[in-house]
Amino acid sequence: MTLGEIIKTLDCRVVAGNTNLDAKVRTGCGCDLMSDVLAFIKPGAILLTGLNNPQVVRTAEIAEIRIVCFVRGKQPSQELITLARESGITLLTTSLPMFEACGKLYMNGLSGYDE
């Protein structure tokens, strides 16, 4: 999927980051546990999370994740947005809960991190 398709599918709001809507995203990971993200996520995946603190951006930066989507309408703080801008990470928010957001992306061809 492209970033643009993801935004459309999840009806996302773009909070921060680059606006290249044609960027290809191959895999996704839905996770609130940052250690699991660090252990298993593939570089270039989109991270869907309900966790809302600066460590999400740090984890994304360390694990080479460029797109993070906050589920269930969570609004990231200004501090978090600033950190994301510095690291070149795109932040999205969707009002969908985690299960539905992951399900919709999976149905649209995004695979899990295990493949």
């Binding site: 960027a23 546990l33 699991d36 660090l38 966790l51 460590q55 999400v56 740090r58």
Partner: protein, 315 residues
């Protein structure tokens, strides 16, 4: 910068840069009342393939080299430009992103597009593929200039040093309980290693291991120090703190075992996977701890000749 990254960067830039930032504003134009024969000098001398036809400031058409040749073969060089020009001109607005121009070039196969002002429709410039490429290159050069200089210097560092043994040491202070700054060390180390030209896969392993170690220091102690040692053979990271220590290291190494309080779990950590992650990333790992005194963690990742080094390293 590697090719893949460069392409992504260009993709971003074609959305960001506007047509009026790369177009040529010093445009050669003709009047519709000029004779076709007058184009000869213009097309030849300026080596251009098409000229916008302008009346006042308004674009009324485009006359191309093809129109000229056709006119020549018909022997009608005394025709007026307005009778031979094409009136159905594809134009771009000056405030459109470059990606629109790129799409039009792809779709139409023309060599140039007149650019008009969205405000008053006046001709304000002309854009060619060459202008786009020049604009992009200039921008990339500006954006990457500094980073490139850093990287160039760093990646040849080992080559330039003449010694029997070379070790670069980077030291970082980690503040305990300060969650807003947690991750700065690993982030800084990661950027540094990237500038040195260390392969991305190795950087990822070091960064993840260092980040987990850093989180442990932040969560459990009042602070500590992380030191990275880089040699042509390996990267070694040492995390030392004077915190409470680990009573049972074997137990602490078990996946899922955690003594972290709930507030740490709320931050997305403390699930007992930290040390497991570190072990997974490192080639070797050494953990020693004394209760009441502190903990020392040392990991190493082998470079296996991934970094250029000077022949001074005799073996």
């Amino acid at each position: 910068m590697d090719a893949e990254k460069a392409i992504t960067k260009v993709q971003e830039l074609v959305y960001e840069i506007k047509v009026n930032q790369v177009m040529v504003t010093d445009v050669i134009t003709v009047s519709p009342h000029n004779l076709m024969s007058e184009l000869r000098v213009l097309l030849h001398d300026k080596r251009i393939s098409g000229v916008p036809v302008v009346e006042g400031t308004t674009l009324v058409g485009l006359v191309s080299i093809e129109d000229f040749v056709k006119c020549l073969s018909e022997g009608k060089m005394n025709n007026l430009v307005r009778d031979r020009m094409s009136r159905d001109v594809i134009t771009l607005y000056d405030d459109e992103p470059l990606v629109r121009a790129v799409q039009e070039f792809d779709r139409r196969g023309y060599g140039r597009f007149p650019v008009i002002s969205r405000e008053n429709g006046a001709l304000v410039g002309v854009i060619t593929k060459g202008d786009i490429i020049r604009g992009l290159l200039k921008r990339i050069e500006i954006d990457y200039h500094e980073e490139e200089i850093h990287r160039y210097r760093a990646s040849y560092f080992f080559e330039d040093i003449i010694a029997d043994k070379t070790t670069l040491i980077f030291q970082y202070k980690v503040t305990g309980k300060d969650f807003s700054r947690a991750g700065r060390t690993s982030s800084g180390l990661k950027k540094t290693l990237r500038r040195m030209g260390i392969p991305p896969k190795i950087i990822r392993r070091i960064a993840i291991a260092t980040y987990e170690a850093e989180m442990n220091i932040v969560v459990f102690t009042d602070g500590g120090e992380i030191t990275a040692q880089v040699t042509p053979r390996e990267i070694r990271v040492e995390a030392v703190d004077s915190g409470p220590g680990i009573p049972d290291i074997k137990k602490a190494m078990e996946p899922g075992f955690s003594t972290a309080p709930d507030w740490v779990r709320d931050l997305g950590f403390g699930a007992g996977m930290g040390l497991t992650n570190i072990r997974k990333c490192a080639d070797t790992m050494h953990l020693e701890s004394t209760v009441g005194k502190g903990t020392r963690l040392e990991i190493a990742v082998q470079l296996n000749g991934a970094v250029k080094h000077d022949s001074g390293d005799h073996h």
